[in-house]
Symmetry: C2
Subunit: 221 residues, 2 copies
């Protein structure tokens, strides 16, 4: 792959509505960096399985982690082909015909082969990166992983071999003959929003909420 573009391959090429397919690295990474949840797909002898996971992009890789007791992480740590998909939902597109109803979204599909990170300081760095991706600023506050916790955690890295971004934006696109239909048409925007913070019972009532939580960016999803 080039420095700034992913090379479309047979599996990453977007055939349907190719105008929606984007291989620009900066645009692909922007979506990966905004998302907080990935859906990770892998093959098992009983068929395909898709599991939601926290993740973080680091350079040209995606980092995943989980318990050393997890079947999935054990499988990934042995090296496996995976597909990692991150989708941000931006709105419902309400057309005049049911046929032209749609969704506004940005979705990145990443393909790669997982490899385990075993060296403790590298595992620690990857886990710190994961926390910083999820909640920027939190890593400086919370206690980092100790030796036992590192040993109890499997961390894998998936170098991105192919990736693409598919998106839809804007108003509905109706048939000309339908424009006369007397119906409201347009977009209902959707985005992930934060609710009111809930301190746990061990947090003193006068403990200030850190700024990185008060300002948690809307729209991450």
């Amino acid at each position: 792959m080039s420095e700034t573009e992913f090379q479309p391959t047979e599996r990453s090429t977007i055939h349907r509505l190719p105008s929606r397919g984007i291989y620009d690295k900066a645009k692909v990474y922007e979506v990966l960096d905004q998302g907080i949840l990935a859906h990770v797909g892998f093959a098992t002898k009983n068929g395909p399985v898709v599991i939601p996971m926290g993740y973080a992009r680091r350079a040209d890789s995606v980092i995943l982690h989980g318990s050393a007791k997890s079947r999935l992480l054990t499988y990934l740590s042995q090296g496996a082909d995976v597909c990692i998909t991150v989708t941000l939902v931006d709105g419902l597109v309400l057309a005049r015909s049911t046929f032209h109803h749609s969704m506004n979204y940005r979705s990145v599909v990443v393909f790669g082969h997982s490899q385990v990170i075993t060296e403790p300081s590298e595992k620690d760095a990857a886990l710190e990166h994961l926390v910083e991706h999820l909640v920027p600023g939190r890593g400086a506050d919370a206690r980092g992983a100790d030796e036992g916790e590192l040993a109890a955690t499997l961390v894998v890295e998936v170098p991105i071999s192919d990736a693409s971004l598919k998106m839809r934006t804007g108003p509905p696109v109706d048939e000309t003959r339908d424009l006369e239909i007397d119906i409201w048409a347009g977009v209902l925007p959707l985005r992930l929003e934060t609710g009111e913070l809930i301190a746990d019972e061990h947090t003193p009532a006068d403990k200030p909420v850190p700024g990185y939580l008060l300002d948690y960016p809307a729209g991450r999803s």
Copy 2:
């Protein structure tokens, strides 16, 4: 499977933190009925692929659809093993140690074998059901699919053979020794919220917004 419970099978059994695994049909369907986006995984000769799709549950099946020109829908219409995962993100769990950071969520994983719906009136009914799932009330307003649109659409049904719900709720669970750490800990709730409706350019300025859009339920995601 029984009337009210899915039978845990080898692939649907939740091994890690089994207390988080729920096979109760009503609880599984509640999540499927709240979600609007599924991540659909399937095997290809080049490895696993995960694609985001609109969907709807109907009785003990999940309905998917797409263009007759879509590679994915063509593949699914020929009958394929699929995994359909729907995840609702409920919040970030901020513990005192990075190790105990987590996410509150509800995630349903469905396994099944897809089968195409070809009979036009059955296709039409399935598509109407999809629109009603996404935007209850819209089906009565919008123009339904005509013969050409039905022919241009592939509709598949995936009878649910196994399914399970995994969820996490509540505050962080910290080590006792960490409770003295002077840091705010708790939950940052997250949920999908609607933004301000955007009428398209063909909608008259005085056209009232339908109630089903004004009252679109928060938290669907």
